[in-house]
């Protein structure tokens, strides 16, 4: 049985991105749930409390068994619909989401998921993806070309270093959209610079 937090996250991600994109792909659900988890780390949430884990795929994208199982379950119950390979909330799913979103156990994580999905307002989703691929854990997995668990001890140090600098630079913020956009813009620039240097070497 998937963790209820994974199921809630799927519902909220589909709900919040519906207005922006309509239906979205399963890969995007994994991406935004991973971004939500990372924003949660910035917000002081222990990784172990998130409810489910992430691994890197062979292509270097984030993937969660918990999210995948939640999607499968909710498709079978009719809360999530699929058409042309894209996912969306059914009317039943919308109604169910409205019923659970007020539960206290989801209150804190909603702040992070809203910040993650709202970042799609500030930049193209392809740029968000490029940025997340540059975060320490995924970048490390890409270099080792392994399928490994993400946000492990080794990469957490680099992540915490970035978040420490970010937190000091911004001061106290109650809207996690602010650090999310700054951090994604930073990672996006880091990705651009890395590719520019690699292209110079090749040519």
């Amino acid at each position: 049985m998937p963790d209820s937090r994974a199921a809630f996250d799927v519902l909220q991600i589909l709900k919040y991105l519906k207005g922006r994109f309509g239906a979205i792909s399963e890969a995007e659900v994994h991406l935004y749930s991973y971004l939500s988890c990372l924003i949660g780390i910035f917000g002081g949430e222990p990784v172990s409390e998130w409810g489910y884990e992430f691994a890197s795929t062979e292509n270097g994208s984030p993937f969660s068994e918990g999210i995948s199982a939640a999607i499968t379950l909710m498709r079978s119950t009719g809360h999530v619909e699929s058409a042309g390979g894209l996912l969306s909330l059914s009317d039943q799913g919308e109604y169910f989401y409205l019923g659970v979103k007020g539960l206290s156990q989801y209150a804190r994580r909603q702040l992070f998921i809203v910040a993650a999905t709202n970042s799609a307002l500030a930049m193209p989703s392809g740029q968000i993806r490029m940025a997340i691929m540059e975060e320490p854990s995924l970048r490390s997995a890409r270099i080792t070309q392994g399928s490994e668990m993400l946000v492990s001890d080794a990469s957490l140090d680099a992540l915490h270093a970035q978040f420490r600098v970010l937190s000091e630079a911004l001061g106290h913020v109650s809207d996690f959209f602010v650090p999310a956009v700054v951090w994604l813009t930073f990672l996006s620039k880091a990705a651009e610079e890395r590719v520019r240097l690699e292209t110079e070497v090749v040519s």
Partner: protein, 346 residues
Amino acid sequence: MRADDYDLGQVVSLAKQLYVPVIYRHFGDPGTEALRKILDFLPKMFGRRDPELVNGDIFVCILLDEAVEVNSVAGLLLKTFDALIDAIKPPCTIQLTFDGTYRVWLAIPDDVVALSKKAVVYQFSGRRDIFIANGDECVVPKILSSLASAFAATRYRSLEDALEEYKVGLIRSSRCEIFQGAWRDPQRLELKPKPEHIMRRSLERFLQIYLGADVEVHPEHIVDESHPVDLRVFWNFARQEVLIEVKWLGISTDGQTRTEYTAARARSGAKQLVEYLDENRVRSGSREVRGMLVVFDARRRFRRGRALSHADAFYYENREISYMPDYAASRSDFDEPRRFFAEPKV
């Protein structure tokens, strides 16, 4: 990864200068709430009013204090988005209200700085997106400077739509800042030596950003006769893959050595790609793999003893390449080749 693999100084400067934290610093949560409403509105507006064709400034604002005035003259109240789109004639100002209606003035605000002290203000001016908060102007960084607005398009669902936009919006007039680096001369008559890597990088970057977060675009590191594929485009979870081969036509030179490629090169590229698809069919397993030839066409009709006329410079603009055999017609795994004509500047 170690912390020092990143330039953390960039975090500090972005936190100081980027429009989102600047708006938050001045206005707190109400400011970012208003900002999100504007960010949600802009792609919808630009979806109906192409920013490439906008002539004049457009201001969009949300008041944080209802007592502030946008303009001494009362604006036109409009209840629907369609009515607003019909009414927009730059220069103009649009106020988004919290009840979902709009006010429009066919003029810029009386005093933008004063307005920005009590409102979140966005300005589209001269292909720049600017947010003004409490007098602070923040230009929004564009991931692709060739696009008129950072908020014009956020993603293309299909590779075909993305390639069409790339062809028309970025390559035709050499708007792409990466592709600009391929030209040897400002008139865009000749290319630099070995321009392929520039073209590949230009296409790769555009597709990475605008194809959506579920699509991956990877460059191939070995590109030669037996490995003609330049880019691989994956659709995660859908197990689809498109192999893109990039060719260029025209003249490349460093002033001494000269290379000229004609339509024959495009045809041989198609053949190479088909051979590669056949050789690698077994390895693709359950993935649906297609091949696509992309041709950057920089040909000009140079004639011995004659200066290049405007007609000759544009001679190949609408001359499509015929392929024989027509692999696109006979194979389901070979897409119609795409030709991107890059105009000269004469």
